[in-house]
Symmetry: C2
Amino acid sequence: MAERLIVIGGDAAGMAAAAQARRRRGRDDLEIVAFERGHFTSYSACGIPYWISGLVSDREQLVARDPATHREKYDIDVRIRHEVVAIDLDRREVTAVDLDGGGEVREPFDLLMYATGAVPTKPDWARTDAAGVFGVQTLDDGSALRKWLDGDPTPQRAVVVGGGYIGVEMAEALVLRGLSVTLVERDEQPMSTVDPDMARIVTEAMRGLGVDIRTGVGVTGLAERDGRVTGIRTDAGDLPADLVVLGLGVRPNTALAEAAGLPLGPTGGIRVDRRMRVTGVPGVWAAGDCVETLHRVSGMPVHVPLGTHANKQGRIAGINIGGGYATFAGVIGTAVTKVCDLEVGRTGLRERDALAAGFEFVSVIADSTNRAGYYPGARPMTVKLIAERPSGRLLGAQIVGWTEAAKRIDTLAVALWNRMTVDDMTALDLGYAPPYAPVWDPVLVAARKAVDALAPR
Amino acid sequence: MAERLIVIGGDAAGMAAAAQARRRRGRDDLEIVAFERGHFTSYSACGIPYWISGLVSDREQLVARDPATHREKYDIDVRIRHEVVAIDLDRREVTAVDLDGGGEVREPFDLLMYATGAVPTKPDWARTDAAGVFGVQTLDDGSALRKWLDGDPTPQRAVVVGGGYIGVEMAEALVLRGLSVTLVERDEQPMSTVDPDMARIVTEAMRGLGVDIRTGVGVTGLAERDGRVTGIRTDAGDLPADLVVLGLGVRPNTALAEAAGLPLGPTGGIRVDRRMRVTGVPGVWAAGDCVETLHRVSGMPVHVPLGTHANKQGRIAGINIGGGYATFAGVIGTAVTKVCDLEVGRTGLRERDALAAGFEFVSVIADSTNRAGYYPGARPMTVKLIAERPSGRLLGAQIVGWTEAAKRIDTLAVALWNRMTVDDMTALDLGYAPPYAPVWDPVLVAARKAVDALAPR
């Protein structure tokens, strides 16, 4: 008789796992049921800001595979708008609520794939029924926000709370839509995913775009009238707004897991082993934004909610569920984003991470250009390297530049992944031609500068 | 008393060496004299096609440091238009001819830096006095060509002979200048720096640009009238031309070295050790396009004339001359170029190189896009990987894509440099965001495909 796999969460991690498992085990060997709370499966949440801005015209473009495809192509019984509300590990069954039809179903499982993603951080002040306050976490969130933007009256003044990736991307999106946008950030500046000296360049670019940036400001409440938001209250005064976007980060969605007794780690994410099995719970797997993972540089568990990891981890879980063998190697914190033409990339540890992990290090910042200085379109590019002292091992890198900059972080990510020293890196054979780099590639310029910083002459 | 360093050749390798040596040894300790045959020092030969096309407006933009800067900033006695015609290793002196003033000087040396670069391959048929036939090797060549393009009568029909980097770049440059351009290539297609399956994409792009490409055609002679070129003769008929550009590759410029008894290797380049010392000849150093170097993948000596290596090698020679310690780690054959918006990158071994080196391997080609498929401006990108069988070690990689493609070869170059397997590569933490990559980066897609090719299920 076929085993039964139940997948909780129909986005990247869950459906990647299901598809991989199906590839290795036919329907006679494995029955697969997937529950998804929302309306969509396998979509790109990272693409939502570009749909909001209008750069991407249709919501459907963000959906990689709809439920019908999963059913027909992979023979997966996908049930959207079904929220799993309980997991019973002893009886090996889950309870799901049909959010549209009402009613509850219980479904038995032999194997369980937990892939519930993350939930937005929501402080008390943000718990409101007032219209006009949005998270940007799911495609359903995006749909609601789009509707509000096209509503009557049309919102004119937006406040984005929080200056992480989603906050910065949403601020740009709303400026592109013609709104007047204020970004409120509690820290000294937004984009704290890079060190302050690099974040400063991003802050200036955002101001150049017309975003009103208020730093060092804490939000204390919302102002509402007639069930609609009219502004936010901060410790530095009130700000009017007819649209408030929450970009305060996310935490692992583990309510269900906790209730079922799945183990959580220090980051709040579910603890899994290298094969993505939930630690100590036979037959239960987890992947994606709900788990914690190993940071290969610090050696510490981290929570890095990112579609690319969710897909990789889901695939690995699926290979293992399917009877194969695969392990997840951990992350090094690589990420890229853009603010208008300004591109930002990072990998490894920031200075504060390196300090927290106990490393001694030097940091250098090298200014260069993305192309040979004389080639048309050459633009400034700044590379920061953090290297362990005295070993010279690369611990982290950040790039900020105007066009053709961010993805160069991959070069540094692979160097870091392989535990290269900055001294070894100066020898790297990187592509050179005038449209692509000065004769000394910006990465090599930075590596040379780091070598000098480690061993001053 | 100060030692005396004589540098032969005032371009990248020679002047990088001189500058590094000066940094470590003051003028009281080291006197530096540099002879340069041409009018310029430290310029970007790779930039010449873009100056020809008009993308770069002034010749001076291509000059990184002119003789005056070398004299004033580095206290180097630079003598342009001086050609060294003999090296006497026993007497430790060189003989140089003043090409403008006439006359000959002899200069003694304690240390010698040989950095004469490369000379264009010139078959017998190309040895002509007829006007209108040009190499594109030096800035002086470029000046002559620019003058011809602006001359009276203005040339209308160009033939570019040879489809390597310089040939392809020059064909594009001349099309941009409004000429009708024919590219003649002896092999089955141009751009043989990548495998034929990848080169095909480039060939199509060039045809789309309006370049008339004739492949499998050997040139047998030139047609001339009144001292001007009027066409070329080939084994497939005659082609009219009032401008002929030779892009037949280069070989190490070693005439002087041979006469002096410096050792040459199997590639025709000067043999040097890891510190860039000429093998077995005390006090003599060589670097740049005139030397051969180690290919880290094949383990064989190769001749790779490229400004980036010349700069690195020159710097290393200079550090050693200056009393420091540095070694050149070899190359892996990374190179990038572009033809209109089509970008081409390569690293490591092509299939033919892998065969010649005795490797067993698989190759895979993976089609993807440079951005998330739904993000505006997403364009096709093709990644080819060559991996050793059965180890899975990456041996070579090639990328062809429309915009934002070529420099991604660096990611693969660093993976290859670190002897990664394609299996390890599937785990790499690369930057993901919709403007930069699909959720599975093209590099990861290709690595997964290579893993499948190595171990079919």
